[in-house]
Amino acid sequence: MTVEIRPEDYDPWVELSRYQARSDRLQPGAFGACASFVGTMRDFSEGDNVSSMTLEYYPGMTEKQLNDLVEGAIANHELIDALILHRVGEVRPGDAIVLVATWSAHRKASFDACRLIMEHLKSQAPFWKKEQLSDSERWVESNTSG
């Protein structure tokens, strides 16, 4: 399992593919299901065009919360492996923000765990978004419900 905070833009599918190829837990034939979720920055929020966004986090606590999340998911869902990658810093529309991927023998565990990790990440992991509009900026006040 891996949790990473990434200050640069990344291609989620390249990361997923690389992770699956190099993880000791993910030998070909050993898993049957991989569910994943990618959250991407939109250029539109609450009726306004958004030109860019700054993602702040709490170094130390964010990693700890995400690690606890992944460990809990692996313990409770018969997961074989899990990956969380989360962007921080200056983000542009179209950039990937979060990647969550879960591997299991059968599909139920990976589907359940991927969604649960995302919901918990959204409500518990200390990240904060500040949107830059054309002539102002604002903190996003809360996440949409899942």
Partner: protein, 76 residues
């Protein structure tokens, strides 16, 4: 020894506090730490952490603890 206090996001901007060191006098709660950095009442949706874990406002702090205050999280 002392307590380190950190504030994040909109709260960091509002209070003008990013990181601050406070003397530890013993028997302090998270609430006491809050009022040591501002006289403003805490926002209703304030989140508090102690040593990287979420805690309530009546949690007791001790020497060397890292306390953090921040608004609702908006990652993902």
């Amino acid at each position: 020894m002392a307590i380190v206090v950190k504030c994040f996001a909109s709260l960091r901007e509002q209070l003008g506090v990013s990181e601050k060191s406070l003397d530890c006098v013993g028997g302090q709660t998270i609430s006491d730490v809050w009022y040591a950095i501002t006289s403003d009442p805490p926002p209703g949706n304030l989140l508090c952490a102690c040593n990287l874990e979420y805690v309530d406002f009546d949690h007791l702090v001790k020497d060397g603890d890292e306390v953090a205050f921040f608004p609702p999280v908006t990652g993902g």
